[in-house]
């Protein structure tokens, strides 16, 4: 007991903060998903009503919003996760060549957009995509309303995502590749394996842990996508890029009356999807590491 008291000044501050801003909202969040609530009065317990309405009531506007938001979020995840893994991986392989100079400079260039806020980065790209003043239309000789027509609206979202998102994974892959023992490469070379072959059968297996680690983090991050569509397309045209986080935010904090209970239920469903996917990836990772 005395020992615990002596430790209190050290772990106490973090522990209190964690209780109030980590644990409490988590527990509270699980509860209000089962309530009708407008952020103001007392939440009214309604059991599984919210979930039933979101998932099964095809008449309900919340059902439509959830399905549309989830589909758009899945589209975003399905396209952006592979891009955010493969592009940095190829770049890392290129930058790891012993005879290449300026690797640090290139890495810096690819890393910097990740340090720029999504709102500032989006404004830069909206200008790039601007119909009259943007370099894209002017240099390509086209006249496209990128932001307001599909499939271009999705394209702008992916461009901003890849532009800002590859740096972190690139740095991880590069340092992982540099840690691959040179003897492995030399042995494969003696066996007559070419560059591509060695990348596939020496480099990739050696960096499988960082590879799977970044996959989990990138996937979780992509499911939480919000800033890019919010800043670029506002979810349009016709809600075709409106992702689930935008629906959740609108319902709870939008201009109309708050429907926080429903939004919390949607958050929980998104949370469940996230946990399932992480669990699958972790089990694959586990098998990959033992195998």
């Amino acid at each position: 007991m005395r020992r615990a008291l002596r430790a209190a000044p050290f772990i106490g501050p973090h522990l209190v903060l964690f209780a109030v801003f980590g644990l409490l909202p988590g527990v509270y969040g699980l509860y209000i998903g089962f309530t009708r609530w407008n952020l103001l009065g007392d939440p009214q317990f309604v059991g599984l009503d919210n979930f039933h309405e979101i998932l099964f009531d095809t008449e309900s506007v919340f059902h439509d919003q959830f399905v549309n938001g989830l589909v758009n979020t899945l589209i975003f995840v399905a396209v952006s996760v592979p891009l955010l893994i493969v592009i940095p991986l190829l770049l890392a392989a290129g930058l790891s060549r012993k005879d290449l100079k300026g690797a640090g400079f290139f890495q810096g260039v690819f890393y910097i957009p990740g340090l720029i806020s999504v709102s500032a980065g989006a404004i830069a790209w909206v200008l790039m995509f601007n119909r009259e003043l943007g370099p894209l239309n002017n240099l390509l000789g086209t006249d496209i309303s990128f932001i307001t027509t599909q499939p271009w609206a999705w394209l702008t979202i992916f461009v901003l995502t890849v532009w800002a998102g590859i740096g972190g994974n690139l740095v991880i892959y590069r340092s992982a590749i540099s840690a691959v023992p040179r003897e492995l490469h030399e042995a494969a070379q003696i066996d007559g394996a070419g560059t591509v072959r060695r990348f596939l059968s020496v480099t990739l297996p050696s960096i499988r842990f960082p590879l799977l680690y970044t996959m989990v983090l990138t996937t979780v991050g992509s499911f939480n996508v919000f800033g890019q569509p919010m800043m670029l397309t506002k979810g349009g045209p016709n809600s075709s890029t409106k992702v689930l986080m935008m629906n959740i935010r609108d319902l709870a904090f939008g201009t109309g009356a708050s429907i926080a209970g429903m939004a919390a239920a949607m958050s929980m469903l998104l949370g469940v999807v996230l946990m399932l996917i992480s669990a699958v990836q972790f089990s694959v990772m586990h098998r990959g590491i033992r195998g």
Partner: protein, 293 residues
């Protein structure tokens, strides 16, 4: 050089190697250009006059470089308090990062150097809870912040993030690597926990604390969803949330220069931090991933 000790490449091999190197350079240079272009074009446009943007059509560089857009922001003559947002962001991010370092360093010491029953179990429990999807916390976190009276207060962005466990994990792992002989020597000299913490441990974990500071600062500076929820007072919001309001200026080419100047302003602090402390940013990713080979 290494190749000659293993497989001596014939002339064909050398030529192929050379060609592939050139292809590599061309691809990287092209991509680097594409990566820099949006930033460069934003900067260039921020130095164009309102009339040039409205009437001269497309050009990569300004016909005449003018600073009027920045002057408008600094003088507060813009229709939005952009400079105020910038200052708000600086206050928020700096305080958040400084407090994170303090809280995390203290906790790291507690979880590695203090002995009390259930210590490691307690930490693993925190870590486990923190792995649950944070999206569930969003709405209740707002309610808590509202109850504390922090809506429209910088505290709403400074304090809740201090509850994070990842940084404690990082510092705890780093601290575990600091030799215990150092503490014991100090203890023999009669030093108490606070002195050991301040004089022995803190100096030896400086690199990881710098990393925590830098990432907390940039994370806070770039945070977007949360500030759009906890601020509705235009004067008090940080610049990321402010830029969302500025988006409607795209319709008005006479204000586009100001918009780009505002975006450029928002890019400066984190980019400068990176250029000044690059090695910390890059080493941190390995620390975070626990992948140091």
């Amino acid at each position: 050089m290494a190749e000659s000790t293993t497989v001596p490449p014939g002339d064909g091999g050398r030529l192929r190697r050379r060609t592939s190197l050139i292809i590599c350079y061309v691809a990287l240079a092209t991509l680097a250009l594409v990566w820099l272009l949006p930033i460069a074009y934003s900067i260039a446009t921020s130095f164009k006059s309102a009339t040039e943007i409205a009437y001269s059509g497309f050009s990569l560089l300004p016909a005449h470089w003018v600073a009027e857009n920045y002057v408008t922001l600094v003088e507060g003559a813009s229709s939005y308090p952009v400079l105020q947002w910038f200052v708000n962001s600086l206050v928020i991010s700096t305080s958040h990062a400084a407090l994170t370092v303090v809280v995390v360093a203290l906790a790291g010491y507690g979880y590695t150097r203090m002995r009390f029953p259930g210590r490691d179990a307690l930490f693993l429990t925190l870590l486990g809870i923190s792995l649950f999807p944070s999206v569930v916390n969003l709405i209740p976190s707002y309610k808590i912040v509202q109850t504390l009276g922090w809506v429209n207060s910088p505290l709403a962005m400074i304090i809740p993030g201090l509850a994070g466990v990842a940084n404690v994990f990082l510092v705890r792992s780093f601290m575990a690597g600091v030799p215990r002989e150092l503490d014991e020597a100090a203890r023999v000299d009669g030093a108490g926990d606070f002195r050991i913490f301040a004089q022995v441990i803190l100096p030896s974990i400086r690199p990881v604390l710098i990393v925590v500071f830098l990432f907390s600062f940039t994370g806070s500076w770039n945070d977007f969803l949360w500030p759009t929820i906890v601020f509705n007072d235009i004067e008090r919001m940080p610049i990321t949330a402010g830029l969302l309001l500025l988006q409607n200026m795209f319709g008005d080419y006479s204000k586009l220069g100001q918009l780009m100047a505002s975006a450029v302003l928002a890019m400066i602090p984190t980019t400068v931090l990176f250029l000044a402390a690059q090695r910390y940013f890059l080493s941190s990713l390995n620390l975070n991933a626990g992948l140091k080979g």
